[in-house]
C-alpha cells in the first residue's frame, strides 16, 4: 500500500469493543496513528481541531449518526476533502446508496477482516492518488 503509515485516522463508533477491533485491524495494516471518538458529535469536534487524514465511522450511533457526520464533513469547507469509510452491520442496498449519495469514500459491512479493510483502503488511496 502506497499510503503513509503515519497517516492519522479517526475511528468513530459508540461501541468501544468495535473501536478496538478497528484500531487493531488498522494496526495490522501498519497504521498506528489512530484516535477514537464515541459518536458523530465528538468526532466532529476532534476533526475541527485538525490533524486527521482519514475517517472510519460507524453508521448507527447516538447523538449524531455516521451518515449525518459524513454529510456534515462534506459540507464543511476545511473537512470536505477527508476520505470517509463507512462501517456498518447494515448490508441493505438503500443504506449503501444513502452512503454513496452523501459522499462516502467507501463502505464496509461488519464483520470484516484486515484483508477486506486493506482492500477498501487501497481502493480509496488509489482514488485519492488520481484526484
Amino acid at each position: 500500500m502506497a499510503a503513509d503509515p503515519k497517516m492519522r485516522f479517526l475511528v468513530v463508533d459508540d461501541f468501544s469493543t468495535m473501536r478496538r477491533i478497528v484500531r487493531n485491524l488498522l494496526k495490522e495494516l501498519g497504521f498506528t496513528n489512530v484516535d477514537e471518538a464515541e459518536d458523530g458529535a465528538i468526532a466532529l469536534q476532534k476533526l475541527q481541531a485538525g490533524g486527521f487524514e482519514f475517517v472510519v465511522t460507524d453508521w448507527n450511533m447516538p447523538n449524531m449518526d455516521g451518515l449525518t457526520l459524513l454529510q456534515t464533513i462534506r459540507s464543511t469547507p476545511n473537512l470536505k476533502h477527508l476520505p470517509v469509510l463507512m462501517i456498518t452491520a447494515e448490508a441493505k442496498k438503500e443504506n449503501i446508496i444513502a452512503a454513496a449519495q452523501a459522499g462516502a469514500s467507501g463502505y464496509i459491512v461488519k464483520p470484516f477482516t484486515a484483508g477486506t479493510l486493506s482492500e477498501k483502503l487501497t481502493k480509496i488511496f488509489e482514488k485519492m492518488g488520481k484526484a
Binding site: 459508540d14 461501541f15 468501544s16 469493543t17 468495535m18 478496538r20 477491533i21 460507524d58 448507527n60 450511533m61 447516538p62 456498518t88 452491520a89 447494515e90 448490508a91 441493505k92 442496498k93 438503500e94 443504506n95 449503501i96 446508496i97 444513502a98 454513496a100 449519495q101 459522499g103 462516502a104 467507501g106 463502505y107 464496509i108 459491512v109 461488519k110 464483520p111 470484516f112 477486506t116 477498501k120 481502493k123
Partner: protein
C-alpha cells in the same frame, strides 16, 4: 476447549459492553410498554441490537448475529410504523432478549452459542412476515431519493462482488454511464450478511402458532444447551473493572507525589543518621511525615474509588425482572429506581445482586396484593415497589419498599411456632421488630403453597447471611395494609473494617463496629438472674450478659466494668469488657494457614501493636449448647 483462543480479550470487552447494552435495552423495553409509540426508545433499542450484532459478527457468533438481526429488523419495522407493538409481540421481543442474554452466558464460558430456541426464531420471523399488513414497499423510496438508474441496476438481483465504484459513480453522477451500471455486476451489496436468508424466509409453520407461549424466561427452554446450563451454575465473576481515567490519573499523580516525599525522607534520614538534629532538620522531618500522612490517606481514598461503581449498573436489571414476574402472577407492578448514581465497592455490587433479586421478587410475589384485592382495599390497581440507594455518612443504605399488604407480627409469630422454629414462650416475649425478624430464620416461609418464585423458604435467611458477609445489616419495617420496607445498611468498602477496641486487662481486642449498638457501664447491682442467666434490662429489653474473658477461656479476674451492646444475626447481648481503647479503621490481614477459632484476622495499631479481630459469631457458637460458658456466675476473683 475455548472457541475463542487468541480472542479472549476481545471477548471479555465485548461481553462487558454488550451486557451493559442489553441491560439498557431491557429497561427501555419496560418503558416501551408504557409508551409504545416512543420513536426515541424504538431507535435506541434498535441500535442496541444492531451494535451487539456488529460485535458478535467479529466473534463469529453466528447464532447471536442471527437472533440480533431478526430482532433488530423487527424494531426497524416498529420504528418505521410498519408494525404495531402488541402484547404478543412484546412477549416475543422479551423472549428474544432473554435468548441474547443466554447466549452471552454461553460466550462467557468461551463457547460458541447454540442456535436460539427455534420457537423464538419462528415467532420473530412470523412477526416480520405474517403480521405485516400490505407487502412493504421497498423501503428504499422512504429512505433516500434514489436516482432512477440505480434501482434498475439493483433489481437484476444477480449475486456477485459488490461494486462500490459502480454504485458510487452511479449516484454521484461521475463517469460510468447508466447503461454500464445496469450491465455490470450488481451492488447486491457487500460481504453477504450472515443472516439475510433466514430473515427473508417466508412465514413458516411456526409463524402460524399463537405467539404468547414464547414469552417468559429462558430457563424454561426445553432444549437448553449444556453450556447454558453450566452458565447458571458457575458463571465466573467479571474480573475486569472499568475505571474513569481521571481517577487513575489521580492515583498516578499521588503515587508520584509519594515518591517525591519518600526521597525527601531518605535524604533527611541520611542527615539525621549523620548526627544532624538542629531544629530546621527536625522541622523538615515533621513536615515530610505530615505530608506523607496526607498523601497516603489520599492515595487510599483514590484507590478505593477505582473500585467504586455506580449501583445503577446493578439496578438496571431489576425493572425487567419485576415486570416479568408481575405479569406471570397477573399483577400490575412498577419498580421505581432511585439513587442509581450511588457508588458502591465493585465486589459488593456483585454480592448484592442475589439478595436484591430475592427481595424484589419477594416484594412482587408476597408483598404486593392482586389487583382485585387492592381495589377492594381502596388502593390503586398498580402497585409501586421502590428500590433506592443512598450514601449516609460512611454507610450505603439500600431500601426496598412496597405498598402492598404489609406483614403481621402476629401471623409471623404463629407461623414460626407452627414450624417449630421457636417455642410458644419464646414467641410471647418477642416484640414487633423481633417478630418481623423471624422471617430471616432458616426454613421460614409464610406462603403455605410453594411457588416457583420466592416461596421455597430458603430465601430470606440466605439474604441475611449474604448481607452480613458484607458486614452489613438488614432491618424490616412493616405496617399491615400499607406495605413493607427492607433497609439494608452496608459499609462503604470491605477493605477497611471499622472496629471498636476493647481491653481485657491491658490486652486490646477489636470488635467489628457494625455489630455494636451501644456501650454502657455495667453496675453489678442491676444484673438480674433470669432463668439462671445474668441479664441486664436495657430500655425494656432483657439482654444476656456475656463476659469476653469467659468467651476466650480466660480466668475472670475482676467484674467487667463496661458492656458492649451487640447485635448479631442470631441474638442481641451485652459483652462484658474491662475498658475501651477507642475506635479504629482496621485493615484486615487474614491469618492464612493458622486460624484460631473466633479470630477473623489481625490488624496493626498505630503504635505497631498487633490486635486480634474477633469473630463474634464463631465465639458465640458454643454458647447455644453451653450457656454457662460466658456466665459471670462463677467469678474467680484473684
Amino acid at each position: 476447549m475455548s472457541d475463542f483462543s487468541g480472542m479472549e480479550d476481545l471477548l471479555q470487552d465485548f461481553l462487558q459492553e454488550a451486557h451493559d447494552l442489553l441491560s439498557d435495552v431491557d429497561n427501555k423495553l419496560v418503558d416501551l410498554e408504557k409508551t409504545p409509540d416512543d420513536r426515541g426508545l424504538l431507535n435506541d433499542i434498535f441500535r442496541g441490537f444492531h451494535t451487539i450484532k456488529g460485535g458478535a459478527g467479529f466473534l463469529n457468533a453466528t447464532e447471536l448475529v442471527t437472533l440480533c438481526h431478526l430482532t433488530e429488523n423487527l424494531f426497524d419495522r416498529l420504528r418505521n410504523a410498519e408494525l404495531a407493538l402488541s402484547p404478543e409481540l412484546m412477549d416475543i421481543i422479551m423472549a428474544a432478549t432473554q435468548g441474547v442474554r443466554d447466549m452471552f452466558g454461553e460466550l462467557s464460558q468461551s463457547v460458541q452459542p447454540q442456535s436460539a430456541d427455534p420457537q423464538v426464531i419462528g415467532a420473530l420471523q412470523g412477526a416480520l412476515n405474517g403480521e405485516v399488513q400490505a407487502p412493504v414497499v421497498l423501503p428504499v423510496a422512504t429512505m433516500v431519493d434514489v436516482p432512477p438508474n440505480v434501482p434498475a441496476a439493483a433489481s437484476t438481483g444477480a449475486a456477485g462482488e459488490p461494486d462500490w465504484e459502480m454504485l458510487h459513480s452511479a449516484v454521484s453522477g461521475a463517469p460510468a454511464s447508466s447503461s454500464e451500471v445496469s450491465s455490470r455486476s450488481v451492488p447486491d451489496l457487500a460481504e453477504e450478511p450472515v443472516v439475510a436468508p433466514a430473515a427473508e424466509q417466508a412465514g413458516t409453520a411456526l409463524a402460524a402458532q399463537p405467539a404468547s407461549p414464547y414469552g417468559r424466561r429462558g430457563g424454561d427452554r426445553p432444549a437448553a444447551s449444556t453450556a447454558a446450563a453450566r452458565r447458571t451454575e458457575d458463571r465466573g465473576r467479571e474480573n475486569t473493572i472499568r475505571v474513569d481515567t481521571a481517577r487513575l490519573d489521580q492515583v498516578l499523580n499521588l503515587s508520584g507525589e509519594i515518591g517525591l516525599t519518600k526521597n525527601r525522607l531518605t535524604s533527611l534520614r541520611a542527615d539525621i543518621l549523620a548526627g544532624k538534629n538542629d531544629p530546621e532538620t527536625l522541622h523538615a522531618l515533621d513536615q515530610a511525615v505530615s505530608q506523607l500522612d496526607l498523601l497516603v490517606s489520599d492515595l487510599q481514598n483514590s484507590v478505593m474509588k477505582t473500585r467504586m461503581q455506580p449501583i445503577g449498573r446493578l439496578f438496571q436489571k431489576y425493572p425487567r425482572i419485576a415486570r416479568d414476574l408481575a405479569r406471570q402472577l397477573g399483577k400490575d407492578v412498577e419498580l421505581v429506581l432511585a439513587g442509581e448514581e450511588t457508588e458502591v465497592d465493585k465486589t459488593m455490587i456483585e454480592d448484592l445482586a442475589d439478595p436484591l433479586i430475592h427481595l424484589i421478587r419477594n416484594a412482587v410475589d408476597h408483598g404486593v396484593e392482586m389487583p382485585n384485592e387492592r381495589q377492594l382495599s381502596g388502593k390503586t390497581v398498580k402497585s409501586l415497589v421502590r428500590l433506592e440507594a443512598r450514601q449516609e455518612g460512611d454507610h450505603i443504605v439500600l431500601i426496598i419498599a412496597d405498598d402492598g399488604r404489609g406483614m403481621s407480627a402476629e401471623r409471623i409469630r404463629a407461623k414460626a411456632v407452627e414450624k417449630g422454629l421457636i417455642s410458644e414462650e419464646e414467641a410471647n416475649t418477642l416484640d414487633e421488630r423481633q417478630s418481623l425478624n423471624l422471617i430471616f430464620l432458616p426454613g421460614f416461609s409464610t406462603k403455605t403453597q410453594i411457588s416457583d418464585v420466592s416461596g421455597r423458604g430458603v430465601g430470606m435467611d440466605v439474604v441475611k447471611t449474604n448481607i452480613q458477609k458484607l458486614n452489613g445489616s438488614i432491618e424490616i419495617r412493616s405496617e399491615p395494609g400499607k406495605g413493607s420496607v427492607f433497609i439494608i445498611s452496608l459499609p462503604l468498602t470491605l477493605a477497611i473494617l471499622p472496629v471498636l477496641l476493647v481491653l481485657l486487662g491491658d490486652q486490646p481486642f477489636a470488635l467489628p463496629l457494625s455489630l455494636v449498638r451501644e456501650i454502657l457501664p455495667i453496675e453489678q447491682s442491676r444484673i438480674q438472674e433470669v432463668g439462671g442467666k445474668e441479664t441486664l434490662v436495657v430500655r425494656g429489653e432483657v439482654l444476656p450478659v456475656i463476659s469476653l474473658a469467659r468467651l476466650l477461656g480466660w480466668p475472670l479476674k475482676k467484674y467487667p466494668e463496661y458492656g458492649v451492646f451487640m447485635q448479631t444475626a442470631e441474638r442481641s447481648f451485652i459483652l462484658g469488657v474491662d475498658s475501651f481503647a477507642g475506635r479504629d479503621d482496621a485493615v484486615i490481614k487474614s491469618l492464612e494457614d493458622f486460624r484460631p477459632k473466633g479470630v477473623a484476622g489481625v490488624t496493626t495499631l498505630s503504635n505497631g501493636q498487633i490486635v486480634l479481630i474477633l469473630d463474634m459469631k464463631e465465639l458465640l457458637a458454643d454458647i447455644g449448647q453451653h450457656p454457662e460458658v460466658g456466665s459471670l456466675r462463677s467469678l474467680e476473683f484473684a
